[in-house]
């Protein structure tokens, strides 16, 4: 058999496929099982589906199924076809054969790619059969899916091939491959944790800024399947409609094409690595000479970051080390230990011996110096991260979470308010040491009188014009005394949050970016609630805005001690549009407690028929009513003075059982991403659909004052 070209050898190609048939054969079998099951269901009449639903399934496969499956399967194929590189005998035989490195590379790569493709081809074939049996065949989506999966397969197998040439050890290959694929998110998480633990105010929020280096994560997060539905009448029931899938589209599918091109580039890199790869590196953990120091110091850095922080948590976390040097010193110690373990561990793997200590002082010193420098730079904030307050002209808009409310400020419209916010931010930074000390004290009991002090979350995110974010999150200790004292952050924050401008911004009255979706009112005395109509919503919000302008909305109660508000609350939902970054947050909400003096609002609600004079009891009065109800429940008048057996008592409904689902979902929507916020109780105790639908359950327990005040919203 005369070789026609040195770039491809059919014998080797066939040999690879026949040697590793169990791999692609089993995968094909499992891949075909799902459509085969569908075919069987179709034949039995149990499955009725449309071409659009098939399209949706195909696109789901592109976005979710294929990246994960290919990530794992491609490395197995790469381990198979490149396995000869990891053994001196096999690499000797293959490189003795009359075929060039190019020929070996091309032939082995193509045979591996074929092994990747076969299971998908088999699965696709059965999917086509299924769609034909279901009379829902559509060539377009199938073609798109084949293209996308082929692109993803090319990328994953190319990346596995590139990894295969970096190592000379078959067991190191999957470790390196997965490390490369998830290094960016891992590093971001580790550095984020370290920075947020050392730098005052820095949030530990996973931003995903480097997710594009982790294609599996990036594809799943960014390639979207858009679906639209239409309402059609249910056959035979003209008054009832059902949602039917109207269209399915793939958004940002081009990302897969980009990754496929990256795959081609990686293929080029892999070929270059193979050209210069030495046969004698079979068995080495890292095949390339330049890769060995990278591996040695890279593992040391990863372990110092990850293992160091873990060690710190295990050993030192129970100590209250609230002064910077005392936090940094043990952290340096932990990072040093973990870094050296990583350095020597990597050295042992590279040298394939435990005797690596002799002559390693220089490397160990570099690792130690790196740990100390990294800790000091971050711990002592040498880059001035904690002190940074962006200038107003560099800001696109600001998102602020404070006093359990979310605010959005735009420099063009809110220049004065934004400047005040910056002043508050500067005031917090100016009292960094005090704030940190009180924050680390952790409990109010440790740091002062709990009736006159509290902890609040203050999170400000400046979205800059250059596309970057400055995100700071403070857990602040506030006291009544300091709130009266000018120059303290307590005072600045209170003045800022309770200013009329901020109240109006919180209400979002007449702000086209926020569209009021719905709202309701909860009257505790009647244990009743109603939902506003859209016209009523506008009127009520206008009335509240008038009260805010008149200064009668009241002040935000930082210490949850104001029982003078009425036991009447209103809850409003907004959807957000117009600003892309805001829109990603979807919905937002606000809770307003009625209080004496809000005459505009009270009159409006009375006019609508929701409120009566008898409902206007304060929280303090409500507390007495609850106590009386409670006493009556336990000791009815005819049994006064008689101790009752517990078994004869009616069970009392827990308030939490009557909280509607939509009310329970308030907290995650309003809270900034990734932040833990004190749960807000429901503003209404029962879902209500029309005014006057009073709750007739005499046993249902009302909210306690403590639960009501925990909402801590504006006007309480």
């Amino acid at each position: 058999m005369k070789l026609k070209t040195s770039f491809f050898n059919p014998t080797l190609y066939r040999k690879n496929l026949t040697r590793f048939w169990p791999l692609w054969g089993l995968t094909s079998f499992f891949g075909a099982l799902i459509p085969i099951s569908g075919i069987m269901m179709c034949l039995n009449g149990d499955l009725k589906t449309t071409a659009l639903e098939f399209k949706e399934v195909y696109y789901n496969a592109i976005v979710y199924f294929a990246p994960v499956v290919l990530l794992c399967y491609c490395i197995l194929c790469a381990m198979a076809v490149w396995s000869y590189l990891y053994n001196a005998r096999s690499v000797g035989m293959m490189h003795t054969l009359p075929i060039s490195r190019e020929g070996l590379f091309v032939t082995n790569f193509l045979s591996g790619l074929t092994m990747v493709a076969i299971p998908w081809a088999v699965t696709a074939l059965f999917c086509v059969i299924l769609s034909i049996v279901a009379k829902s065949f559509s060539a377009g989506p199938l073609f798109v899916t084949i293209l996308c999966v082929a692109g993803e397969g090319l990328f994953y197998f190319s990346s596995a091939t590139a990894a295969a040439f970096i190592t000379g050890n078959v067991f190191a290959l999957p470790l390196l491959y997965f490390l490369f694929h998830f290094l960016a998110p891992l590093l971001e998480a580790l550095i984020g944790t370290l920075s947020s633990n050392l730098i005052f105010g820095l949030s530990h929020i996973y931003t995903g800024v480097a997710d594009w280096l982790s294609p599996t994560v990036y594809i799943i997060k960014n390639v979207k399947i858009n679906r639209t539905y239409t309402q059609i009448p249910v056959p035979g029931q003209p008054n009832i409609t059902e949602s039917v899938l109207a269209s399915v589209t793939l958004e940002k599918g081009w990302l897969i094409a980009v990754y496929a091109l990256v795959g081609l580039a990686l293929l080029g890199v892999a070929y270059m690595l193979y050209r210069y790869r030495k046969s004698e590196c079979a068995g080495e953990v890292i095949a390339m000479g330049w890769g060995r120091p990278v591996f040695r110091y890279g593992i040391a850095a990863l372990l110092a970051l990850g293992g160091g922080q873990l060690l710190y948590i295990i050993i030192f976390n129970s100590f209250d080390l609230d002064q910077d040097p005392y936090r940094i010193l043990p952290l340096i110690f932990c990072m040093l230990i973990a870094g050296l373990i990583g350095y020597y561990g990597a050295s042992m793997l590279l040298a394939k011996t435990l005797r690596v200590f002799k002559g390693s002082q220089r490397g160990a010193a570099i690792v130690a110096a790196g740990c100390v420098i990294a800790c000091c730079v971050v711990g002592f904030d040498m880059l001035g991260v904690a002190k940074r307050v962006p200038s107003a002209d560099s800001v696109k808009y600001v998102r602020l979470y404070a006093a359990n409310n979310t605010y959005y400020l735009f420099p063009d419209e809110d220049a004065d308010v934004l400047e005040e916010l910056r002043d508050v931010h500067k005031a917090i930074i100016a009292e960094k040491n005090y704030a940190q000390k009180m924050m680390n004290a952790r409990t109010i009991e440790d740091s002062g009188d709990f009736e006159k002090s509290t902890y609040v979350t203050f999170r400000v995110t400046y979205l800059l014009k250059n596309g970057l974010n400055v995100d700071r999150n403070y857990f602040l200790y506030l006291t009544k005394d300091r709130m009266e004292e000018p120059g303290t952050y307590d005072n600045a924050l209170d003045r800022f949050i309770n200013s009329t401008e901020m109240k109006l911004r919180r209400l979002r009255f007449d702000d086209p970016r926020f569209i009021i979706e719905n709202g309701n009112i909860n009257i505790q005395k009647r244990d009743d609630g109603f939902e506003f109509s859209s016209r009523e919503l506008s009127e009520v919000l206008a009335a509240i805005a008038d009260d805010a302008k008149a200064g009668t909305w009241g002040q935000y109660d930082w210490f949850d001690e104001d029982n003078t508000t009425y036991a009447v609350s209103m809850f409003f939902w907004y959807s957000i549009n117009d600003v892309e970054e805001l829109a990603s947050r979807g919905m937002d909400n606000i809770t307003v407690y009625l209080r004496p003096g809000m005459t505009n609002t009270i009159n409006c609600l009375k006019k609508m028929g929701y409120l009566e004079d008898g409902d206007l009891v304060t929280q303090a009065e409500m507390q007495k009513i609850w106590e009386e109800r409670d006493r009556m429940m336990k000791y009815p008048p005819d049994m006064a003075g008689v101790e009752l057996d517990a078994a004869t008592l009616e069970p009392i409904d827990s308030p939490s059982e009557t909280i509607p689902p939509e009310a329970e979902s308030v907290t995650p929507e309003t809270a900034p991403e990734g932040e833990t916020v004190t749960p807000q109780p429901a503003p209404v105790t029962e879902p209500v659909t029309n005014p006057g639908a009073a709750n007739n359950n005499p046993n249902s327990a009302p909210q306690t004052p403590a639960e009501s005040s925990a909402a801590s919203s504006m006007g309480s």
């Binding site: 070789l3 040999k15 000797g92 003795t96 490195r101 004698e280």
Partner: protein, 298 residues
């Protein structure tokens, strides 16, 4: 012609080949001998295209071996640890070799089937080490190579099969003009088949000659000196001397005639020149570079 010129190969800084040079004339059988770690297998892996030299040239018929598939079609090699795919049969491996070597001869394959008498449908892994070596020879000789590179080729073969295998190789040399480079520790065996010998140590080829030249260049004499001469005189320049009774055995690096002429000065009572075996040449050549003889004899 197989040629290596000042080949240097470094493994993590260690000079496995330190300017090694050797030349194997076309149609000759060249025995490469040397102690363990001398660099024999390393230089052989350069000739088969596995390793790339850090310096120097590795050529066959004037062409570089590295990344030269056209040349490698003419090269067949049997390493000391021959590789086969698991779980291949002899026939599977034959098909594999046939797909790479254009001159692979099925006719010869069938003929050699009779010689080796191994069931071609047997899985190679299940064969004994010696039988696996036979399979290696079977397939390699079917490639009809111009250059045959053998690294410890007959380890594990029984004496009959060794003779059989060497007979096949020598047949190729005489009929096809195949050039053979063979490394082995079995010096007695090499002596029977090689016409050229190279001795390697510490990554260098210390000397290479035809076996005839090598034997002419070193002589072993048994001498009985007259009364009064109890030790071998220093001015004789003996490589090695030993004494049994009054008989001195002297190894000298020169022709037999020259050695006899030098010794004649001392009017020996008895003087007889004996032929040196390759093993003796090997030992005494390397003895000059502080080699511990006791460690190398098998």
């Amino acid at each position: 012609m197989i040629q290596a010129e000042n080949v240097v190969k470094l493994f993590d800084g260690f000079r496995a080949l330190d300017g090694a040079s050797l030349t194997v004339p076309t149609g000759s059988v060249y025995g490469l001998v040397g102690p363990n770690g001398a660099g024999k297998s390393t230089i052989i892996r350069h000739f088969t295209g596995i390793y790339r030299q850090d310096a120097g040239a590795v050529q066959m018929n004037g062409e570089n071996v590295w990344e030269n598939p056209a040349l490698k079609e003419k090269i067949a090699a049997i390493p000391d640890d021959w590789f086969y795919f698991n779980p291949s049969t002899v026939r599977d491996m034959m098909k594999f070799y046939r797909g790479f070597y254009p001159r692979f001869s099925m006719e010869r394959y069938e003929k050699l089937k009779e010689v080796f008498q191994i069931d071609e449908k047997r899985v190679i892994r299940r064969l004994s080490k010696g039988m696996q070596k036979q399979v290696a020879f079977w397939l390699t000789l079917c490639c009809m190579p111009d250059f045959l590179i053998l690294d410890e080729p007959v380890d594990g073969l029984d004496p009959v099969m060794r003779r059989q295998v060497w007979s096949l190789v020598m047949g190729d040399v005489s009929q096809n003009g195949t050039t053979v480079l063979v490394s082995s520790h079995n010096l007695r065996e090499l002596e029977d088949v090689c016409d050229h010998v190279g001795i390697m140590d510490h990554g260098k080829v210390l000397l290479e000659r035809s076996l005839e030249q090598l034997q002419d260049n070193m002589v072993k004499l048994q001498v009985v000196f007259p009364e009064g001469v109890t030790e071998v005189p220093a001015d004789l320049g003996a490589l090695h001397a030993s004494k049994t009774g009054r008989v001195h055995t002297i190894i000298m690096r020169m022709s037999a005639a020259e050695a006899e002429e030098r010794i004649a000065v001392y009017q020996p009572i008895v003087m007889e020149a004996l032929p040196l075996t390759l093993e003796e040449i090997f030992i005494y050549e390397l003895g000059g570079v502080d080699y511990e003889v006791k460690d190398i004899l098998l």
